[in-house]
Amino acid sequence: MLILRRIPRWATTGGALVAVLLCAGLLQLANANPAASQTLTLTAWQASEDPGLDPNHELWSRTQFVQAPLTAQAGSYAAGGGSIPVVWARALHYNNTLYVRLEWEDSTQDGSALKVEQFADAAAVEFPAKSATSVPSVCMGQADMGVNIWQWRADSLGNPNELYANSVVDTYPSTDDLFYTARAAGNPYANPKQGPVQNLVAVAFGTLSPAATQDVQGQGAYSNGRWSVVFSRPFTGASEDLAAFTAGTSTDIAFAVWNGSEGDRNGRKSVSSFLTLNVSGAAIPEPEGSDWLVLALAAGALLVIGGGGIGLGLYGLREGKRSA
């Protein structure tokens, strides 16, 4: 204290400021973040049997969901969307294969894109590439850290003449792959053998490309104004630019939903930010019996909030009158 008092005030304040700035610099250099993330977590439980690709498999009804809020896609060109406000996400794994099930409300089932003005409903999950050292930009990744995207589309390759029951075509001179130009060019969208889910990689806007291996499977179902879609892929990613999973560890996961009748495609979509995906070694917990704790916590929290807010207001009012 004695020493401090002899040093001029500006010097001590300045010194402290320098210390703060130095400390910050050291933390930045060390990449040591003193804060902890408090974002949502989606847990992939260990399933007791193979859930398969059926979105209505009984296992899913016993699996806890997380509601991820979605918003319109951000400022990148071809922005827009946002008609789907929330997606219910569930995850399981069985025999070293990850299953993710998304469910969302969409009053229009857009399962065809045979006409130029039609766009199909679609959904996607996004993971950081195996090679990513931290969380990449949720918007298509970044140059040094890529993302792996699995996209499911409600439509399948079709013959446009299917639209017209009485349509007649004399002949098509040749129907080799060569004459389906995109198919000949190796575009998976044009490949009739491609399933409804595409495995894609990206490192920035405009770089989304099909992955070398197309090993993601999936299936969608529509009923009562709701789509449910299951994505599935073995834990091991075939290459460094793909996602990889290990039981007992966490990675990140983000969601996107396209509403075809709103003209959603490309960047025009509803997107979430990254959630934590915890690939748990535990089995699906039975919700019965443990719910009381959550309910009590929630009720308690809400009581504190509501009661506290009103109480404080009243108290402040009284205090204000007294001092007046």
Partner: protein
Amino acid sequence: MAKVYNWQLGREMDYRFPNGKAKRQFAAVFNINRCIACQTCSMACKSTWTFSPGQELMWWNNVETKPYGGYPNHWDVNILALQEKANPGAQVWDAARRSGRAAPYGVFEGKTIFETADQVNNMVTGYIPPEADWKAPNIHEDTATAAPAAGVTLPEHGGWFFYLQRICNHCSYPACLAACPRNAIYKREEDGIVLIDQNRCRGYRKCVEACPYKKSMYRPSTRTSEKCIACYPRIEGSDPLTEGLPMETRCMAACVGKIRLQGLVRVDDRGEWIEDRQNPLYYLVHVAKVALPLYPQFGTQPNVYYIPPRWVPRPYLRQMFGPGVDDAIAAYTHPERETVAVLQLFRASQRIVFSYKIEPGPKTAEITVGGQKREIFNDTIIGYDSNGKEVVRVTVDEPTAERPGQLNSI
């Protein structure tokens, strides 16, 4: 957003990307006055490129009857309406501010399709024509605006229609390219041809939405979009017939009415044409100024130029081809001696003519057009290929031969 120079508008404009490095630009002149709408071009294109499943509604080349026809229906009216709505009453030209090759038609003071877009949700103002609009490619064929009992006379017919021949304009500032969020569309350096990478396309139809000429088309059987490829193998000289030299596209080469002349012009870093006096396209567009771009006000700097039909009311033509219409029609009605010769090059050779030379010939006729006297000279025009080798030689007077009487079957 970059600033690029659009000489057809006589001003700088906003475009998503800075100027590319195209050295040569695919370009063509179509003489509307000569077209008989036989659709040979349409069939030549169709039977070469778009005869497979999913391409049923796809006509990379089409010929439509104006003012009512359109493929897709009302494409131009729809874009004009969108633009007018975005910038009401201000889509106007200042034709007085003409200056050389940098602003040959004056200055467009309105907004381009890039400038009326918000650049976030859309790069380009446009719309997707629904499927029904693509299903009647030759609707309103030969439908005139009226059938005056007294007949029609020049300079403007009381009842009129004309044929508009359309392919992809391989624009200098392509709207399709600017609109593609995936960078799947590119413009080639060597010839300015605009192509959709069929491997990268994911069928978002942003190009279909953006192209004001509606020459990007969706193919449901591959879930991608396709467009006119300017018969690039022919332009590259891959056809054995020309022994490696650039060759005109199928639609040009098949033209029965000899209305089309196509070539490659040299362009500078700003997208302006480099002076090339003896290139027939350069001559028609920049010297004689008889050929004009289609809807230049959209701002894409299209590269197919039209000699406007002489009989059509001027306000309609000015909307379609800009303020250069009156001069172009005058230059076509009373052509220079050189123009008459250059017009002979149309459809004279399958090989692309890069330059020409005229050998003067004797005066063979004197005629009167619109009260003005005109002399006809039987000049000879010689066209040269990219190596300066002669590929064609034609005279103004078509050579005639009288058949001996006994060979006549009649």
